[in-house]
């Protein structure tokens, strides 16, 4: 699947945040959106991922325009996963229950937990595991329905270097899924296939390595 953004403009109130963004992102690779804090990475990620509607311009998943999707919930459930800076695991559910909360096929969870190296934590609660493990659980939750794209906003922002690298390595392992990662973490450069550089709301540069 290919994600395509054309002539995206975005305003918060009167403030012009994103300027004429045009880009294409392939699934099954890692795309990094990098740039200084305040350059518009999060806003762009939110627009690409259906969480935010751009002031103007269009976002297409293959031929389907986001605007035209009637049941955006169903679309998110099947095609899109999210990883945020904070894990946002629900504290009254254990890890397994968190992961299978909206799973199409809950039986996949054990294999997934195993792939992420946290199968032994399935019945623990978020306050009973480490920060790195929590973020792995959040990634598992994003991956449970085999989405086409996982959007991650500063997924390593709350982790130490070792765990941050662990997260990027994980992204690399799930080859079928496209990861779009907005981050100012320089380490992403070593893992990303495509890098989109943002500056003051403009795409300054896109390069593939």
């Amino acid at each position: 699947m290919r994600l395509k953004a054309e002539h995206i403009e975005h305003f918060y109130a009167q403030e012009h945040i994103l300027h004429d963004i045009n880009l294409e992102i392939e699934s099954s690779c890692i795309t990094a959106i990098v740039g200084e804090s305040g350059s518009g990475k999060t806003t762009l990620l939110a627009i690409l991922s259906s969480l935010l509607r751009a002031s103007s311009g269009s976002v297409h998943y293959d031929d389907i325009s986001l605007e035209a999707i009637k049941n955006i919930d169903e679309f998110r459930k099947k095609n899109i996963g999210f990883v945020f800076q904070f894990h946002y695991l629900i504290d009254y559910l254990n890890i397994e229950e968190n992961i299978t909360l909206n799973a199409l096929d809950a039986t996949k969870s054990s294999a997934l937990l195993k792939a992420l190296g946290i199968e032994h934590l399935a019945s623990r609660y978020s306050d009973e595991v480490s920060g790195g493990e929590r973020q792995r659980a959040a990634i598992a939750r994003a991956l449970i329905n085999d989405p086409t794209f996982v959007f991650a906003d500063e997924p390593t922002g709350n982790l130490d270097t070792k765990n941050a690298i662990g997260v990027f390595e994980l992204f690399k392992e799930f080859k079928k899924t496209g990861f779009v990662v907005a981050t100012h973490d320089k380490k992403i450069i070593d893992y990303a296939d495509t890098i989109i550089e943002m500056e003051d709301g403009f795409v300054k540069n896109i390069y593939t390595q």
């Binding site: 999060t42 990620l45 939110a46 969480l51 935010l52 049941n71 919930d73 169903e74 679309f75 998110r76 459930k77 099947k78 899109i80 999210f82 945020f84 800076q85 904070f86 946002y88 629900i90 504290d91 009254y92 559910l93 229950e97 909360l101 909206n102 939750r141 906003d153 922002g157």
Partner: protein, 359 residues
Amino acid sequence: MVTPIKALRKNRLKTMLIFISMVVSICAIFLISAIANGVVTMYSTMLKTDGDIIVTQKGISDTFFSDINRSLGLKIEKIENVKKVNTLILGASPVNNLPIVGIYGVSKNRFENYRLIRGKYPDLHEVMVGEKINNILQTPKTVTISKKEFKVSGVYKSDIGFEDGGVVIGLEDASSIFHKSASLFLVTLDDINKQDISAQINALDDGIEAKTTDEFIDNYNQFKIIKISSDVISFLAFLMGILGIVSMMSMVVNDRKVEFGIMRSLGFSSRAIIIKLITETLIVAILAYLCAIALSYLILDAIGHMEKFQGYINGDITPSLAISVFFISIIMATLGSLLPAIWASRVDPMSLILQGGAR
């Protein structure tokens, strides 16, 4: 099913507060309805068991104020199909140190549903006391009513609280205490062509009004007032219950914003979130209902045994009351949680990534 219970347990304190506010309002509805029902049932059973037609003064709002001429009873007795006419003076007066007791002036043994458990029916200047009054006054030899002393001739027992907590006296004595000839006639018929006989009785005198007992009970103003008051109070309790749920659930929703944001990002529909929250509230409502019905039962039982109420307050949770209050509880929980649930369903998952997250 597991998930909502886990959510409720996690938010224990607020769940508890919602639970308590529901128990209180459901209890209030049970108690006021049961007690109002009890009063109406007691009084109407009393009238129903003793006659097919009731004759009162025309246009009175309360049988206590009814004043008719006793001699009319003889004329009514002569109407074909009339089996017997019971004359009755209804009044209430202090008895010894009890501030108010129902006094029943009767022609002879009018009460069909009491049993004489001791002594005999009262003659002139004698009274017979209900078992409850007998117990409260500790088996009195005499009682003072309206400054006159009466000898207690016997004790009776009745299942109707008003009677068991009352005093039965001869018509002559009642007449001099309450300064009236009679309050009402209760007419028993051989046959059931009641409407026709009511008309014949009405034709006897301009100042009286004859109705079938059922018709009388259906139209009796005091019953309507009791019923409306109890409905109004129940409705207020219902509103208080809803307000309690709305305010607590709003706080719960606020506490759990992140959870609903995540659910939206995972592709849960607004509807699913609304259903989730309403389900949680319904679980609390069902538990609150069960607790309230048990509590109300205990309270009603305690009230029934309280001497100072002389058995006049006496409520029963009938199956139909239990069922309707169950549905009221369900509606209360649904309406109360609907608005907060809608707020929850509108949590924007963008809040999770804006300015470093919704923490």
